[in-house]
Symmetry: C2
Subunit: 502 residues, 2 copies
């Protein structure tokens, strides 16, 4: 047993070095996106290439393979947390070692090329210019999937990177349920006589005051300001982990809701990262379970909490104190309706809560059919437009920024990533009702600006575990059942029925 | 020859990786000193330890030794720039490989301990609490010197790290000349009836406006804002190199001269780093020649240029526009005299231009005598106070913050570092007159806010060369003679005779 322990300790020490390198790469990225002088770009790409390469070498070192094999044979001598770490480290090692270096390099070269042509094709709205590069990207990614291994379809191997163990079949089933509920609900909302009036949001909201208000919210909902920062970047993101978690936003002085809900969203991510246990740092137990579970945290804080009437019962007076001229005449109900305005739109990143999943489902179905060989790249624009019409009732005027080429993901070979966004919604719905069952007075607490119990529940049931449990074990422990769509569907129905008097 | 070229290319590629790692460590340090959340400290020290260790491993890799040996045998096949790179890379490799790992670790452990005890002993002003740790530090550093090798005294090996090829004997000679000139000059200044009146500097100078004015100066003297930044830190410094050079300052709202001259000083460092040639990046030809030459740039901009009457002929109206109430009644002569106020003081980092070298000389002489065995650690406070009285005419009231323990350097084993500060002054003096000989209208240009020719001269004669020439070759090429004290002594005499009507 002593020997097993020392083998385990050596493994953890080596994995920790790997995570330290990854945190360095993350900081280099953060700096690049926020404050780096423009002429620093050349050296920054050298720095990132070197550190990422070193991180990869550390993770794939033969010694790690030996230690993992050694421990697998003595798993019974490890505690349950150690076994969880072993399981997750093995997963990381295998994914990283399965793909031959030659393919990694080919993918990396083609990513740059494909991205470049996507930028241009998107700009001019000509899908034909992008198609041959996308075709090769699909082919290379399918090759990658062959090396990674899968049961059913190559897409499963790609989905697995973001949602361990999830499959296209699983998402197909979940998404059919969401579609069946959301498409008719959306129709009913659009037919409602209740209309949001958000014109007051187009007035003057100076950025400095928006930031001040955003920081008030961050602190109120539990962001540890001694262990993180708020900065500005073109594309908002959350970076870093326990002890140093940095979120970013951007300020539109005639649309303050963008920064406000952006900040709440990123704070949701940050609270997850700040909620790991210090003794686990540098191991999988202090890493997010999956992209979808990460998204469940950001989306719950942004939409379930941040766009609720109890939340604004407390915060609207504070927001009015920041912008008295702009908001004096705005009532609580008017404000809440305005920030929950539903309208089918062409661009995913601008979509409201109600239509967001339909954007995701559309992309997922296209990826699924592409990798199953039921759709060819050249058919993409037509398939895209048909589904837009079917799910959202609108047709893109072009294939560029408002159409099939709007998202960056495919140009970088990121297939299988989108479903995690909607998985986040479903998981959030399930956490939401489980939490409310334990805390019947949650609305009252939010009305008083008290979010401590809510955060405590998330810390206890989600954050502290990191990657200790696989998804359905986590859901089972936290909510008493495996992941399902029922709670999320219920949440949307209850919320929008009330708002739009359906 | 083809083979020699490929060996050289491999060497450069490996050295470049080493410099990329060093730039990463520098950014991690910068972030830590400026904007890192406090709870990020633990992970940051892990990151720094890992990256510094990797940088060291890269530089000392056996393959580098082979490549250097191989090239040394074929030096005649290399161009002059390549030979200079080879010389300097060999120097770095040798210094890094000569010290046994065991001593490196012992030094590192003792540094932490010694620093900790210095902090406490300095706080309470009790040298006896620090003495045993300092004694061990001197012993370990002397051991280090034995491994590095030297001709005359162990201190030579330590000086060499900061000033390649310089020796204690060389500094003794130079400093005798400076002392012989400065001590009497200081006496005459103190006896002058001319007295600076700087009370206006104690009024209200909001930090944001100080920053705005500082940035105006930075841009006017040639700082490339696309390739650098200005931020805040407790201890001001310049970090990074070509393409991304970041300087810091701190703002005292009742002493604006601190930030103004601090910014000019750090901009002087930054201009050196921004002035390397892009094709040399990642090699010694794009690194500073020495700490002293670096300091020659910062001190020339800060003192020779920044505290001159021509400079303020241009900038005082701009400063008055920033602070009209505080400065309306202040004349140019009054202002220039106030920012060149001379007064012997106890603390080096607060010393004025005229007394600064005497602080340095005092420390150098003590280090020299310590390492020559002519002074014991326990004799330090008495030696310190005696020299303070002799050179500056004042006696420290304590051994702590105002006495022998004021500087952090010795607690970290940094011996041989101080002389570089004064070497910077001497080199600046020599550059100054060489430059003025080529540009007789320099004062007129400064009066018009035109610093382009001045910067151009420094770029041509100092910056672009990096480590291509050893010190006296650089001085010879730029000024027609090796390093001497004459020009610097002349500068101080001319400047202070005029200001104080001597």
């Amino acid at each position: 047993v002593t020997n097993v322990q020392s083998v385990y300790d050596e493994l953890v020490a080596k994995y920790r070095e790997y995570t330290v390198l990854r945190t360095i790469a993350e900081l280099l990225h953060w700096d690049m996106q926020t404050i780096m002088p423009p002429k620093g770009a050349t050296r920054r790409s050298d720095q990132l290439a070197l550190v990422s390469g070193m991180a990869h070498s550390h993770l794939t070192a033969p010694r790690i393979g030996e230690l993992l094999a050694d421990l697998e044979a003595h798993e019974q001598d490890l505690g349950s947390e150690q076994r969880a770490n072993l399981r997750e480290m093995t997963r990381d090692y295998r994914r990283a070692t399965k793909i031959p270096q030659k393919l990694v390099e080919e993918l990396s070269r083609h990513q740059s090329l494909c991205h470049e042509h996507w930028v241009h094709a998107r700009e001019v709205g000509d899908f034909g210019l992008f198609a041959p590069y996308l075709e090769k990207m699909v082919r290379l990614t399918a090759e990658e999937a062959e090396f990674l291994g899968y049961q059913d379809t190559p897409l499963d191997a790609l989905i697995d990177e973001f949602e361990p163990g999830a499959t296209a079949a699983m998402f197909t089933k979940l998404f059919e349920e969401v579609k069946a509920a959301n498409v008719p609900l959306l129709r009913r909302i659009m037919a409602s006589p209740v209309k949001a009036d958000g014109r007051f949001l187009a007035m003057d909201y100076p950025a400095a005051m928006q930031k001040h208000f955003g920081e008030q919210i961050m602190q109120a909902i539990g962001f540890d300001t001694e262990g993180g920062r708020l900065d500005i970047s073109v594309h908002p993101f959350c970076s870093g982990t326990y002890g140093d978690v940095r979120i970013t936003t951007r300020y539109n002085e005639h649309a303050p809701q963008q920064a406000i809900f952006g900040i709440i969203h990123e704070t949701g991510h940050a609270l997850y990262e700040q909620g790991f246990l210090p003794q686990n740092l540098g191991t999988p137990l202090a890493e997010a379970m999956s992209y979808g579970i990460h998204e469940s945290q950001s989306r719950m804080w942004e939409n379930f909490v941040g766009r609720s009437k109890p939340f604004w019962t407390f915060f609207l007076p504070q927001l009015k104190a920041c912008f008295p001229n702009e908001l004096a005449q705005v009532s609580l109900d008017q404000f809440v309706l305005a920030v929950n305005h539903v309208e089918p739109s062409l661009v995913r990143v601008e979509a409201d809560e109600m239509t967001y999943d339909l954007h995701i489902i559309l992309r997922f179905e296209i990826e699924r059919d592409l990798f199953a060989g039921n759709l060819s790249v050249s058919d993409l624009p037509a398939a895209w437009n048909k589904k837009m019409e079917e799910y959202l009732g609108i047709t893109p005027p072009n294939d560029g920024k408002e159409g099939v080429m709007q998202d960056v993901h495919w140009s970088g070979g990121s297939f299988g990533y989108f479903p995690s966004y909607s998985l986040g919604n479903m998981a959030a719905g399930q956490f939401w009702y489980a939490m409310r069952a334990k805390m019947p007075d949650m609305d009252k607490q939010m009305e008083k600006g008290n979010f401590a119990d809510l955060l405590h529940w998330l810390r206890e049931n989600v954050h502290q575990h990191g990657r200790r449990f696989i998804r359905n074990d986590l859901m089972q422990k936290a909510t008493g059942k495996p992941l399902a769509t029922t709670d999320y569907v219920r949440y949307l129905n209850e919320k929008y029925s009330a708002l739009y008097q359906l």
